[in-house]
Symmetry: C2
Subunit: 295 residues, 2 copies
């Protein structure tokens, strides 16, 4: 799918408890990105609400919606109007008792090009996602769009080289990670820099190991009680196939990032760093096991 | 295998065409590291000779030796004398026509604890390894020693998250990559910083994704014709399970690096960053395929 350069837009935003307001803010960001020339625009994880996984509260299930549903309908209409691709994120109600953390891709004609249900689900203090989300069962996805195949992954997936690899091998030109990651205020002084550095390192490594663009779109703002809760750090980015930053958003401030993607760089990078050529596929079968130590 | 902290030593050295001289230099480095308290000492890739893979020359096969053989005998005697573990690297002659790029681990009693035959073999301008080395067929190895399980990987393996993962899952406390990596002088101005940054990023990412220590031991010095050849960059390192540098050697100068390894950090890191818990082993089988795009 040879194609020319195009611009990608990232809407780094604050998310409130008001879904309508968040949707309006997201759409305003998308329109601004499109005016700046973006042909693919990406939103943060679960942008329609606060990061409700800070507690295990059954009341939060009312935030879930079907896919297709209100969010994809609104984003689809906007994608069609602006003739752009939109990558969104939805708390998906699939059935009573089955909910997912789902990335949605709207193609430039407004149709739902595809969905990806988050495969790796975290459970960490204030990230109680296992309570809300069933692990994805659609596998890893590279979704064809007017601007090439977009590999969708979500937040915690970013720590898994397996996820990046399996998405890249499906022909993705870029990986997009809608994200909601922040600091615990109490840990921030000691661990803050180390945590954000590790986050960036992992995603740079996916770009390098797979020779493609990697995009992370994070939210910003403090959510939760004062002194507790989470400080979402922003710092959204576009890394090129060599792991270099093409563009980076500031920390902890709303921002619109627009950067150029050059699809020809994917092939060039892979010719110069021919990692895919030498994978030892004959020796990787044990990756499907939990542990390999003799027990 | 609960155990206390210990020191690791890295001998970043220049390698000449004289195997005897290289062996002496390596042994002197090992002795110095042991005097500084190192209980595990690591040597660069193929430290007994120049990086001969810059050309395809049948005469270089005379450099190969059996394992066990002269190198492992010398290193074993020193390991026994100093009561330390040594990780070396040998151009292994396994049989007529079957040669490998092999990491060897000598235990603190002088015995050969295990070997690892480089699984991923590069072939790039001036890195013509496919001419010399058959791909390893021992799989990935975490080799038990007096100071814990040491995961051995070699140079080009460093670009493969699969290799790091499969070694980590065997219970390795640390990954050691004997390495020979450098700049092409003609590319250095434009690409030099990007290349060394990518190299560091990948190995930091293995430390983070797997929650263990990662060690790279590189050679230094220009080898080859003036204006051509390779500038081996040094910059050997010890990264902790959060991807932070515990110690880094200078670029392009011989150096002895001694750093502390705290085995308890492996468990602590994995409890706080529980990536191994959430691997989707049910979905990773396609990692054994070359490509997943519909063709």
């Amino acid at each position: 799918m040879a194609q020319g350069r195009f611009k990608i837009g990232l809407v780094q935003m604050r998310c409130t408890d008001d879904a309508r307001r968040n949707q309006d803010a997201a759409e305003e960001g998308i329109r601004r990105a499109a005016r700046a020339g973006a042909r693919v625009v990406c939103l943060p994880e679960l942008y329609r609400g606060p990061y409700f996984c800070q507690s295990e509260d059954h009341a939060n299930f009312t935030r879930a919606e079907p896919v297709p549903g209100p969010a994809t309908k609104a984003l689809g209409a906007l994608a069609k109007k602006l003739k752009i691709v939109i990558v969104g994120s939805v708390f998906e109600r699939r059935a009573a008792g089955i909910y997912h953390n789902t990335a949605v891709v709207l193609d430039a004609d407004g149709s739902l090009a595809g969905i990806y249900r988050k495969m790796h689900i975290p459970d960490d203090p204030l990230y109680y996602e296992k309570f809300y989300f069933a692990p994805g069962d659609l596998g890893f996805q590279a979704i064809p769009t007017r601007y090439g195949k977009i590999g969708t992954l979500v937040c915690w997936d970013q720590w898994y080289p397996e996820a990046a690899r399996l998405t890249a091998l499906q022909g993705a030109l870029l990986l997009v990670y809608p994200t909601a990651i922040g600091w615990h205020p109490g840990e921030r002084k000691e661990w803050g820099e180390s945590q954000i550095a590790a986050w960036q390192t992992m995603q740079r490594s996916h770009a390098i190991a797979n020779g493609l663009y990697v995009i992370g779109v994070n939210r910003v703002g403090h959510e939760g009680p004062k002194g507790g809760g989470l400080d979402f750090w922003g710092a959204s980015f576009v890394f090129d196939p060599y792991g270099r930053a093409v563009a980076e958003a500031p920390r902890e401030k709303e921002a619109l990032l627009v950067a150029e993607i050059d699809p020809s760089q994917v092939e060039t990078a892979r010719q110069h760093w021919p990692f895919l050529r030498d994978r030892r596929i004959d020796a990787y079968a044990p990756l499907t096991r939990r542990h390999l130590e003799k027990e």
